[in-house]
């Protein structure tokens, strides 16, 4: 439980003239649930996109499961990192079942039969057993995001990254996705979650990280962050998001 599965050391990311990350140091232990909060543009999404190299960092080091990633290295270790996207990004030309089974077949080398069996099991787990034959466009946003979670789980990753998984959803569908994530958190999988859902952070996180201006400003247990925030930026952020 104590081995760090993600280690970020002085990670810098720039987009042209704009510096998105200013030397990030972050370590995530196996089985830990880390929730990253912060205002828009604070670099939260960039941070987790660097972990699985959807963005390549410009300086510093990122070690995932014992192997350094990025800056020209092969992606092999990143198979162990699953990702759930804000806009779901399901494959629209495939059935739900095939969306979930594709990765295990193409990357893990499972047969279609085995992968589809695994997919059915996972779809049942996210409450979508009866939707397997449908196409993504036939599902609601909340259902699509649950398929997205099942698709990521099908690869049996050691780390699951969530990039604002409920931000694109209608309010009445946020709950069903958070429920699935909460169930998932109990299974021991490592999760790094970028979200604006403070209730989820408070309830589920082992550790909350607050970012502002491309830096980690404060981190601590949910209790420390929400009940005894030290940095004035964190205080004003919490005031803004919790007051309505």
């Amino acid at each position: 439980m104590t081995r760090p599965i993600i280690e970020m050391n002085n990670v810098v990311k720039t987009f042209g003239m704009f510096q998105a990350l200013h030397g990030i140091d972050l370590s995530v232990k196996e089985g830990e649930i880390v929730v990253i909060i912060g205002p828009s543009g604070s670099g939260k999404s960039t941070l987790i996109r660097c972990i699985n190299q959807l963005e390549e960092h410009n300086a510093g080091a990122i070690v995932v499961d014992g192997a350094e990633v990025g800056r020209g290295r092969k992606r092999a270790t990143l198979i162990e990192v699953g990702m759930v996207f804000q806009s779901f990004n399901l494959f629209p030309h495939m059935t739900v079942l095939r969306n979930v089974a594709l990765g295990p077949v193409r990357v893990r080398g499972l047969s279609w039969a085995d992968a589809e069996e695994r997919a059915r099991r996972l779809l049942a787990r996210v409450g979508l057993a009866d939707q397997a034959a449908k196409y993504p466009a036939q599902l609601s946003g909340g259902q699509q995001q649950r398929v997205g979670i099942a698709r990521a789980l099908a690869m049996e990753p050691k780390v699951l990254l969530f990039d604002e998984p409920t931000s694109a959803l209608d309010p009445e569908m946020v709950g069903e996705v958070l429920d699935v994530m909460q169930q998932l958190a109990k299974t021991g999988v490592t999760m790094v979650v970028v979200t604006h859902e403070m209730g989820f952070a408070r309830k589920v996180a082992d550790r909350v990280v607050f970012m502002d201006g491309g830096r980690i400003v404060e981190e601590g247990t949910p209790d420390e962050i929400f009940n005894a925030p030290r940095d004035p930026r964190l205080r004003s952020f919490l005031q803004a998001v919790l007051s309505h």
Binding site: Q53, L54, M83, G103, R106, R151
Partner: protein
């Protein structure tokens, strides 16, 4: 002589129909071959242009630009009448197929590129995040979506290739137009030419209609 006897002479039509039909077979063979080769070449060119490393990529860009600039008739005449001077003598069919597919590949490449670029970035990211190899990413995720997007413009391009097959009559290829002019000379009557024109329209009009229907359907489905 009445206008019917001149332009729509039944006797002449019946006499020359076999000649026209043999020309039609050649036209269809030429068109279909050029469309298939242009499709494959265009797909390869588009992928090279989008994803290959620098020198190769520049070659693809240069190819696409040059072959979209040259008139097909000029290219055809160069291939058929100029290449023999360097020892490359092609049959009329080979020369016409080359000219048509070389140009069609360039146009198809730009159509495929637009189709691939129209696939949302999130699709690439989801495929990356799953760990799919670049080939799987293309074959499983991007191309199936891109090909659906480009069906109308690719069909439109295929219609153009079919029409441009008529240029092959310049290099003595016995296609529909060539056979029709031949038949007109033999019969001393323009009916075969009118018949050929009608045959072209009968074959291509449904395809033109199809493009319209496909475009409408794609627009309705939207994204």
């Amino acid at each position: 002589m009445s206008i019917f006897d001149t332009f729509l002479n039944w006797k002449v039509f019946v006499q020359t129909l076999p000649l026209l039909l043999s020309g039609l077979t050649t036209t269809l063979a030429l068109g279909v071959t050029a469309i298939i080769l242009g499709f494959i070449g265009g797909l390869v060119l588009a992928l090279v242009r989008l994803y290959a490393k620098s020198p190769l990529r520049q070659v693809a860009i240069a190819y696409i630009d040059v072959f979209r600039s040259i008139p097909i008739l000029v290219l055809l005449v160069v291939i058929y009448y100029a290449l023999p001077f360097v020892g490359l003598r092609l049959s009329p069919f080979a020369a016409a197929t080359s000219a048509l597919s070389l140009v069609s590949a360039a146009y198809s490449a730009e159509i495929f590129r637009a189709g691939i670029e129209a696939v949302p970035k999130g699709q690439f990211e989801a495929a990356h995040a799953l760990g799919l190899s670049p080939w799987r990413l293309m074959g499983d995720v991007v191309l199936p979506q891109a090909l659906r997007i480009v069906i109308p413009p690719i069909t439109s391009n295929s219609i153009n290739v079919m029409k441009d097959t008529a240029l092959a009559s310049v290099v003595a290829m016995p296609d529909l137009l060539k056979q029709a002019t031949q038949a007109q000379a033999l019969a001393a009557n323009p009916t075969p030419l009118i018949s050929a024109a009608v045959i072209y329209i009968l074959i291509l009009l449904p395809l033109v209609r199809l493009v319209g229907i496909l475009e409408k359907r794609l627009a309705v489905r939207g994204r």
